[in-house]
Assembly symmetry: C2
Homo-oligomer: 173 residues x 2
């Protein structure tokens, strides 16, 4: 089953994390692969997940924001990191060891052209029916919406960012 | 800060659970109060949260679905349970012990007239600025949208329920 969480509203990654925790609690094996997000700082969810045993694994494959908020890395470096993360996803899907694989911010990696939609579609077609995949990130391409079994659009109705309130520990990471 | 997750799409409760896990990971104290959801069966998130120590607490105050899916309880019983859950919320907010309080499905408890919107608004006005509250559930009344600092609408674009696939352990609970 393929789940897709997209849209401009807050909650896509946290929703996927909640889903991962739920699955883990029911005895499932979970892998979380994060595109974009980097190892530079630890998120709250990462700190908890690292204590939850061997049935849940979180890997941050990204190098941080791309082209914004002070990012000075060449795009080629971001591309390399995203491709490596996609390779990990391929391997994990073919091994069939995990019941749920979360590909966090993969939609963003596609829209920034770090990875090719064609490759992602090829990969998703190989997912066995009894396994679950969650795709997150704003601006999901229509091909991913078509291939998914469940799509929720997270619509921003109101956000305190617009009032100038900044991202905070425990809220945004 | 008041967060409101509403709409007909999947992910509102899991999103709030993910947010709770994130906050916990960053050293916050978290209380989860579930309206509607009952003690009858254990959700995946509940199993994990019960292992995460004293800084996170989950209380299921509900008696299950109201008036649907075989529910035969008189409405008065559901009302009593919801009122008691709201009392717990009041106490927790006034004690200021928790940094994040999640009031799961409170919107549904209001729209089913188990509790009064007036009482909920009165309560939310007492929340100190440095504390966070998350409200979840479809059909949020406009008064709650107005009072909230962040509102995400979870819009169902596609759902496998519509193909006749039933709720599953690890996916829906």
């Amino acid at each position: 089953m393929i789940f897709l969480f997209t849209g401009d509203g807050k909650g896509k990654t946290t929703c996927a994390i909640g889903q991962a925790i739920r699955a883990l609690g029911q005895g499932k094996k979970v892998l979380i692969l994060q595109f974009i997000k980097s190892k530079k700082f630890k998120s709250g969810e990462e700190k908890i997940i690292s204590k939850l045993g061997k049935n849940i694994k979180l890997i941050k494959g990204g190098l941080g924001f791309v082209g914004i908020l002070g990012d000075k890395l060449p795009l080629s470096e971001h591309k390399k990191a995203a491709k490596e993360t996609l390779e990990m996803a391929k391997k994990a899907i073919s091994e069939r060891k995990f019941d749920l694989i979360l590909l966090d911010e993969i939609n963003v990696a596609i829209s920034l052209k770090l990875i090719k939609i064609k490759e992602v579609l090829k990969l998703l077609k190989k997912v066995p029916k009894e396994k679950d995949i969650i795709l997150t990130g704003r601006d999901a391409p229509k091909e991913l919406i078509e291939i998914s079994d469940l799509v929720t659009e997270f619509k921003e109705i109101k956000h305190y960012f617009k009032k100038g309130i900044l991202a905070q520990k425990g809220r945004e990471f």
